[in-house]
Symmetry: C2
Subunit: 156 residues, 2 copies
DNA sequence: GGAAGTAGTTACCCATAAGTGCGTAGGTAT
DNA sequence: ATACCTACGCACTTATGGGTAACTACTTCC
């Protein structure tokens, strides 16, 4: 056949689209922030261990205690990637047992502020979203009318 | 042994922490937005197909063309979950071939505005981040001094 | 002398998100 | 007559992020 199938056209399109997405700063930021522990580290360093108060530096083990449940591997990995992007700074002091402190940079602080915008949206609209969700699920339950074609029911 | 190991304490802590994270509106919002196609659908519906201009409703197939490379499955899935949360509305019209249009609701529009804040941050700071990243990688390359202990090198 | 705390690293496993392929119902175009 | 359009749904496979366990090296406490 002369024209490619829809699937083939999509595959080609995705090749360049993936390149575009990889270069897109918005997508990069989302990828950075959507890690499980990233926002938690950000708010621990940005608002103190109790999520209120002022930014202050914290030690590795202190972060590990505050973010209960994080494994040393994920904590390291998260801190390393944030340091790589210049969002936090790492300071090692050669005390008796070596101590390492992490602190938000100005860049990290500004990101923290931006992420708090998201937090604010989610807090003000969470009831609305929950209501819509409940209504949608209830409607689907009562009225199990499918959208497209395709009711296999029984495929022998 | 009387006291649990560090790993056991972490496992306990994560049990309640996961519950907290699941209930945390900020984490829910991040999970919602961090889907690969979510922000793309949002900005297509919120700023027109060329990512400039005004919000306007679009058809399923039009979205499929604009978001080149999306499979029908993922497009459906994304649209369905956004509809469930009341961020977009779905309207089916019984024309000759049935046409379905999707449109941002007020809620979806306000989320779109918030997400654009993130976009703005990423655009204004992308050079800074890239510079930090390059500097960090260069430093690691020149000075391959490891952080903690553990250089296995050869484990016989 | 063994445990625990300091700050990590490495190898491996698994659950989930994303992608692939195929099906559908009714109508229209070739 | 057959292929394709509309808008999807389902089953299967793959890639990746997150989690587990075990290790390092050094010191202090019991």
């Amino acid at each position: 056949m002369a024209t490619r199938t829809a699937a083939q056209r999509r595959a080609e399109a995705r090749a360049e689209y993936n390149a575009f997405l990889a270069a897109c700063p918005s997508q990069q930021l989302l990828a950075r922030v959507s890690g499980k522990w990233v926002t938690l580290v950000l708010s621990a360093l940005g608002s103190g261990p109790d999520c209120d108060g002022d930014p202050r530096p914290m030690r590795y083990s202190e972060l590990g205690r505050v973010l209960a449940g994080v494994s040393p591997k994920m904590l390291s990995q998260t801190l390393r990637s944030l340091e790589r992007d210049g969002l936090i700074s790492r300071t090692a002091t050669a005390t008796v047992p070596v101590t390492v402190t992490y602190e938000l940079t100005d860049l990290g602080l500004s990101l923290h502020q931006t992420v708090r915008q998201l937090k604010r949206w989610s807090e003000t609209h969470q009831d609305e979203v929950a209501a819509h969700r409940a209504a949608f699920d209830a409607a689907r339950g009562e009225d199990p009318v499918p959208r497209g074609g395709a009711q296999p029911e029984a495929v022998p």
